[in-house]
Amino acid sequence: MKASLHNRNWIKATQAILLAVAVCFSVGASDSSARYDRLNHQMMCSCGCGQVLGECNHVGCPDSPVQLAELRTAMNAGLSDKQILDSFVAKYGATVLAAPTTSGFDLVAWIAPFAVFLAALLGTILLVRHWSVGKKTQVPQPASTPEMDAIRERIRRETGSEGSY
């Protein structure tokens, strides 16, 4: 009964925390230059410096000021993000995009890491389970004696842990 009440308090506390988090999440902020920043960070400077367009700063760069001006013009003309990016690809080539697109072969770039991660995660879980099962069938549990139990209890008492270290 006491344990049940304790668990119910835990659930209530968790619910309250989650509710507080949800309320805070729903409150948004506003920044008008965010779109410009976001777009200039999705493209590369085309001068060959290898820097993201919004961060290219090398002195006397012939391309980044031009590209940034084009971006401003395109935004002012009311083009959507996709239209802007497409127009840059048409003018500067696919390498102007700072990351692969999510279509065609480029999609493989995005899928492979997550596929590998999931496969490895699954493999690790299966491996751990396999080894755990093997252990259960092969190794008998050590006998529990009153002396051993007393030592374990003392370790728990002194270290406040399960005593497994």
Partner: protein, 689 residues
């Protein structure tokens, strides 16, 4: 001096070749027991001595190059291309590793130095060291062959000898550049040693886990150098490149990060082998992979396969590295297949929720991160092969893919130490995880309350979201590790009647490896907090006339002067900016732009004012040619100094982990309480790793 240097390198190659050949023959004779005209042990010792002599020969060559730089010997092509008369002395020294040939010579010298130490310590285990020394000699033969035939640092200039050299790349004329490359190379080259031991131990079917204990210090020191090198590179990029960031996922950066990830995985998983005799094959392959990745990184950046802001020019050494990597991989696979039954391990796990499992998942995440970076680095090549056109794989890709993996790793950093070996109970989980969970949720609420929200203009903001998760996990992990320290220290304090600080010190001394590791984890947490700050970077740019001002965050910058200066090495333009906060002058900054005379290359010198909450980072972008006025870009970068503080802790933690723990007897003396009677028979609690 060029002839002297070239001859030294040739002698070094001959000695390394002898070490390899004689060492291999001697080991073969010992293994088969065949009769020979010379005792195999004596032959092996001559091989070892030849290996020691390699160090002296390469040191002579390196000295010859440095001597030539200091004496402005522009008859040597390398000196002409990477130095000039006006170059300050420290940078002349740095010219040794500023170009391809010189950096490969440095590589050879470091390899020779590691080999020298290894061969001097052969009495630790003569046979194992003989195997390791012979394998290391094979690596030395390769690198010495490269510097002798493919990228010779002493090749002479053809035609007229110029009066002055081209000078050192301006990007490299910065104090950290004098130590960053050697540090990084120490990390790269250092992994050759655990590789040699692992392969040697496998070849000779070395019994037990002693080879892991022998190489532990090597691996940890190497890992420390690599870590230091990577972070020095980050700091250099931050302070010199002037783009306001420190990590751009450039292929060269990635090349250094990949072996770091596999090396980190190795440092964790060897504990499984030491404690439980598990993962023997896995550990061998982790160290093989780490060594191969150091070679792959060199191949990628020096062969022109990928474009990078600091890749060396395309050269023929790519073929050399490809062939060598192929040979190394083939030898590793062949040896593994031949000796795999020696690596048979009893894999026993009692629970999915245990320290052992957390190490497995830690390895999974580290290797997935390594794969993601390798995949992103190689995808442009793959895309060109498949589609016929290259694509760019830049920061947005890595931030989307690698950051979530990194956060998962941070989660495991906190969870792992809370889980006991073998198995855990629900009660223990609940007790150990209460505080970290409270810290996590409290941080989320505080962050949201102060405006760290994953929604911006009604749209999802990934940067803010990751920062929020990063802050929350960091708080949670910090609480978890701190509570581990406090719990252990409280027990010791109670037993020995010491104060908590003294008890904490004793706790660490009792198990330096475990608590050094925890200190490293706290350092990682602090680094992550610093990285999360980048989600809130702000910047503004303005052309400033005299007494014009600009604002960024709480600061107002007023231009009180802009002028020019010059010396024998460079001309510079700089602005003097008074910085105000709350209407009160705080300090002055002087961002600068230099044009180096020898190379005629411009370079920014960023002015940085760093406090724990943020960096005020000011760049002299250039001068308006019409008005002659400076264009200033100012950044407010939150929490950057936390990154460097975290690195200091990581270094400190590594040093702690390198110190041997107190032996049980010494610990018993340390824990002796004032009353002698009380200490008699007091059992010493000694933790595990």
């Amino acid at each position: 001096m060029a002839t002297f240097g070239s001859l030294s390198l040739l002698i070094a190659l001959a000695l390394a070749a002898y070490n390899l050949f004689a060492g291999a023959v001697a080991l073969r004779l010992i293994a088969t027991g065949q009769p020979a005209p010379i005792a195999p042990e004596r032959l092996a010792d001559t091989a070892r001595r030849a290996g020691i002599a390699v160090f002296f020969a390469v040191t002579t060559a390196a000295f010859a190059l440095v001597w030539s730089v200091f004496n402005n010997d522009f008859t040597i092509t390398y000196i002409m291309e990477h130095s000039n008369r006006a170059l300050p002395a420290a940078y002349k020294f740095a010219a040794l590793w500023s170009g391809q040939e010189g950096s490969l010579l440095l590589w050879c010298w470091l390899l020779g130095t590691f080999g020298f130490v290894l061969r001097l310590r052969h009495k630790t285990d003569v046979k194992l060291y003989a195997y390791a020394g012979t394998i290391l000699a094979a690596v030395q033969v390769f690198f010495l062959a490269v510097v002798n035939f493919a990228a010779p640092p002493f090749s002479l200039l053809r035609g007229a000898i110029p009066e002055d050299g081209n000078g050192l790349n301006p990007l490299l004329q910065y104090p950290e550049m004098v130590i960053h490359p050697p540090m990084l190379y120490l990390g790269y080259v250092g992994f050759s040693v655990p590789f040699a031991f692992a392969l040697g131990a496998l070849m000779m079917r070395y019994p037990g886990e002693k080879w892991i204990r022998i190489t532990r210090v090597w691996t940890l020191v190497t890992w420390l150098f690599l870590t230091g090198g990577i972070f020095l590179g980050m700091h250099w990029a931050y302070a010199v490149l002037g783009w306001g960031g420190y990590w751009g996922w450039d292929p060269v950066e990635n090349a250094s990060f990949m072996p770091w990830l596999t090396g980190t995985a190795f440092l964790h998983s060897v504990m499984m082998q030491e404690k439980k005799g598990m993962m023997k094959s896995w550990n061998v392959w982790l160290i093989f992979s780490t060594f191969l990745l150091t070679l792959l990184g060199t191949l990628l950046t020096r062969a022109g396969l990928v474009s990078s802001v600091h890749a060396f020019a395309k050269s023929s050494i790519g073929t050399w590295f490809t062939v060598f990597m192929g040979i190394v991989l083939a030898v590793c696979i062949f040896t593994y297949i031949l000796q795999r039954n020696h690596l048979h391990a009893e894999h026993q796990l009692e629970s999915l929720v245990s320290r052992e499992s957390s190490f497995l998942f830690n390895n999974l995440v580290l290797l997935t991160a390594c794969f993601v970076i390798l995949w992103g680095t190689l995808f442009p090549i793959l895309s060109e092969y498949v589609q016929g056109s290259k694509v760019t794989v830049g920061a947005p890709f890595y931030n989307s893919v690698a950051v979530p993996i990194g956060l998962f790793l941070l989660f495991l950093t906190g969870v792992g130490p809370l889980l006991p070996w073998r198995a855990t109970s629900l009660k223990a989980i609940r007790r150990n995880f209460v505080l970290p969970s409270i810290a996590l949720f409290a941080t989320v609420i505080v962050c949201l309350a102060v405006g760290v929200r994953p929604w911006k203009d009604g749209a999802f903001d990934a940067g803010n979201f990751y920062a929020l998760v990063g802050f929350a996990l960091s708080a949670s992990v910090f609480t978890a590790i701190s509570s581990e320290f406090l719990r252990g220290a409280a027990v010791i304090a109670k037993q020995t009647h010491r104060n908590l600080a003294a008890a904490t010190y004793l706790l660490i001394r009792r198990n330096t490896r475990r608590y050094g590791g925890y200190i490293i984890h706290i350092g990682v947490v602090i680094v992550v907090v610093g990285l999360c700050g980048s989600a809130f970077n702000r910047n503004t740019e303005k052309e400033l006339a005299l007494h014009d001002s600009m604002s960024v965050g709480p600061y107002t910058l007023e231009c009180v002067g802009f002028t020019q200066d010059s010396n024998a090495n460079y001309n510079s333009d700089y602005a003097l900016l008074d910085v105000y906060r709350g209407g009160k002058k705080q300090f002055q900054m002087a961002p600068e732009k230099r044009v180096y005379l020898a190379s005629q290359q411009p370079q920014t010198m960023v002015a940085i004012h760093s406090v724990p909450s943020w960096d005020l980072y000011v760049v002299f972008e250039g001068t308006n040619p019409d008005s002659g006025q400076p264009i200033i870009k100012a950044f407010l970068n939150p929490l950057v100094s936390w990154i460097w503080a975290g690195v200091v802790l990581i270094v400190l933690g590594t040093f702690v982990a390198l110190v041997p723990s107190l032996t049980p007897a010494a610990a018993a003396v340390k824990t002796a309480v004032p009353s002698p009677a009380q200490s008699v028979g007091t059992p010493v609690l000694k933790g595990g790793d």
